[in-house]
Symmetry: C2
Subunit: 137 residues, 2 copies
DNA sequence: CTAAACACTCCAGCGACTATAGATATGTGG
DNA sequence: CCACATATCTATAGTCGCTGGAGTGTTTAG
């Protein structure tokens, strides 16, 4: 039996976040002590670790809810789980691509080096004038 | 004289977002028509384009507010503008690095290809068991 | 038995919008 | 000049995924 604090320490998920996950239906409402405090079993520790890991990988609460539901049916085919992860991978790749563009844009902008005045600062001019950009974004 | 709709079309910033920027102090409250509708000048069009561009580059509202304030003092040195952009570049690079790690983690997880059951699905097992990860995250 | 540590609920706030409802204004064709 | 369509107004609430605080009650170690 773990208290919510134990669970928090063991998974690295903050206490209010655990209660939030309960509210969001990611974990079932656990048993309570005589004094109405949450008391968890090992099962719930594992479930929360799963959630934590999936969140660290950037999956949305909705995607995690789906994956958790799937994991309760070990006999079913796993195509759906694969689809969720694959889609997520695609969105991560997209974000990387977008950030790379921003990176190169910012690199060019930053080349100003702060050794003159705002009036002829490349940072400010580049932001004011979109046509100075290399790629459209 | 532009209406808020004109401004929106010309900059690609949605109407409620323009009003939101006004509330947040990024653009001054403009003149109003007889019937209390916002009427903008070219100055404000340019300012909004600046904001839009900076947002596209991922700068926060606070950073943009600072840059706008700086751009009103063309005689001052531009070290501060440079600092804001450089810091932002660093945070973009950090995000790229984090996403790359996620990408490779997800690539490994997704290798499952959905041709079996949940019970032995790598996606689900990998999420449940952090020790299967290559790098800590 | 007491004091410290812990947990409870409820509610507000973050950032950057986005959406809705219900009322008013503006611009255009007949 | 008027009807009508479109545009705009304000105010408020919702989005996502938490995070923090206030005020109260519970558990546990010494």
């Amino acid at each position: 039996m773990y208290s919510i604090g134990d669970l928090s320490r063991r998974t690295g998920v903050k206490i209010p976040t655990i209660r939030y996950y309960e509210q969001m239906g990611l974990i079932d409402a656990p048993e309570r002590s005589e004094g109405n405090q949450r008391r968890y079993e090992k099962r719930e520790l594992e479930r929360l670790a799963f959630i934590r890991h999936a969140r660290d990988l950037g999956l949305s609460i909705d995607a995690i809810r789906d994956l958790l539901a799937l994991s309760e049916h070990p006999e079913r085919p796993c195509g759906e789980a694969d689809r969720i992860a694959t889609e997520h991978l695609a969105s991560v790749r997209e974000r990387i691509a977008r950030l790379r563009k921003l990176e190169s844009e910012l690199e060019r902008i930053v080349a100003c080096h702060g050794d003159h005045t705002i009036g002829d600062c490349y940072v400010i001019r580049a932001l004011a004038d979109h046509s100075m950009c290399e790629s459209e974004h």
